[in-house]
Subunit: 341 residues, 2 copies
Amino acid sequence: MAATMQDVAQRAGVSIKTVSNVVNGYPYIRESTRQRVLDAIQALDYQVNAAARNLRTGRTGIIALALPELSLPYFAELADAVIESADEQGLTVIIEQHGGRRERELDVLSGVRRHLTDGLIYSPLALGEGDEARLDVDFPLVLLGERIFHDPVDHVTMDNVEAARAATAYLLGLGRRRIAVIGVHPGEVVGSAGLRLEGHLAALAEAGVAPDDALLGAAGLWHRATGAEAMAAMLDKGVRPDAVFGLNDALALGAMHELQLRGMRIPEDVAVIGFDDIDEGAYANPGLTTVDPGRGQIARTAVEMLATRISSRGAAAPHRVVADYTIVVRGSTEAGHDRPA
Amino acid sequence: MAATMQDVAQRAGVSIKTVSNVVNGYPYIRESTRQRVLDAIQALDYQVNAAARNLRTGRTGIIALALPELSLPYFAELADAVIESADEQGLTVIIEQHGGRRERELDVLSGVRRHLTDGLIYSPLALGEGDEARLDVDFPLVLLGERIFHDPVDHVTMDNVEAARAATAYLLGLGRRRIAVIGVHPGEVVGSAGLRLEGHLAALAEAGVAPDDALLGAAGLWHRATGAEAMAAMLDKGVRPDAVFGLNDALALGAMHELQLRGMRIPEDVAVIGFDDIDEGAYANPGLTTVDPGRGQIARTAVEMLATRISSRGAAAPHRVVADYTIVVRGSTEAGHDRPA
């Protein structure tokens, strides 16, 4: 049978209260007493009951991160960054994948799973404007991404329009004029696809370059395979871009693979830029130029905001933080850039 | 205030028992009654209380997957495959990342987190032989990976030695003789690094090729960056391999990037093979030849074994399943292989 706190107290010859103080890291305990309790804990293989310990604070020390899909490297690396930031705050993270399915996304917000966690960092895909009421929950919540605009809760986001505008402006600055966009969601206005396309078109307009629908490659899912397929479909129609803007890195890498299979030289014939700055892009051949949307900053900010909410429930008005972006130049747009001088 | 089951019953004009039957999917309910209850649920925005529903079965419908690191694409894609298989079984997955740290790995096995889940699929890195007693837990558990050999619990694994032997034998069959191994853990016997090196050395011995320590590139972590660094260190010493076996795909991709930066042609000058068959490898330039360790089979088998354990606790003796591997040939070892004929 499992040892109880009472067993530990008895063996150490101290009160239960003293055992509790040791277990909870209470500072004012004589070192010899502390050592006796720790010896008894070890001898009895006593498992600290976190649930009981948490009765004191009403907290579990666990937060949840709900995201679309771990097979998208952006989200896998975001999860890693969130776990690292949470670790610095003494918080443990569990991850829930909702697959961008509306029903699953709603499950994340209600239901038994929220009982265990102190708060939620939530990156929805299917929920959007009009779902604000769903976010009126009775637990600490920080929102990630673009999907909901009139924020009733803390929200960490990136400036998709401005960052995409900068990506296209950069390609235009290299003298490229026929810029294919891979990953378009026709008709979408909000959401990353719609916002990034808006930024792209704004940059074209500023430079006086006429947009061309033949250069818009649709791809519903933003994976390597769909990027390669969209690129292939465009090339098969005889369209010949001199640059490609993949709306995320996976799309860009898929497109770059397809271009190279057809004997096109990157960047001489076609310059390629992505969006996300996933680790994989740095090791592609050539290295993938990309927009770094500030993933580390997003993760760190979200965890800090959530930790603040947890320790002061419902105190302050919702915050909105927009992460800084940067363009990371590599060999896929400028030859020779992969090896630092 | 949130609607209760009683509110739903009142509005639908049925008993609470009938509402409960509808919510729990009980089959023998008149369709018109079922529809009335569903209408009432919708009208009142009634949230089914999963905790209450689960009192009936004593289950939550949630399983946990504990793994080292999501920034390793193998584990991100494994997680995705487990979630997909669990979905088919009507199970939801939450993910816990332990980072290969012993203390965290032990936390996964005990503690508050296990209260919420029906069972655990567990891929440890730090625990190993001698820790079998830790696996004697009172919840359904399926083990993944190589770390513990005398299995007290269900275990799904791959044949690392045999699969690595096949990888090296394949390179030898192409006429390569100076095969660098990237990702070696000096002194390790158990664990993926030790087992895969053992397979590599067995293949050399079978072919009568003398091993050369200068061709063993150490890398503690199996990331792209460490693969590139190990490759660079070897090349800087003047070692000139005609093939590279990356002990996982990330290492192989990092090594391939470094080789190409230095102007070496893949596969003409150096053939490269990895291990894992992550999606990224298929879109590398050239595509990465690799060992597919049967990730889909591993995920499916683990979920099925866990589901069986959950529905028949403690019934059967532990099973051990070894997944089938295959070698996936792409352009990094045989030119022209990236485009199907």
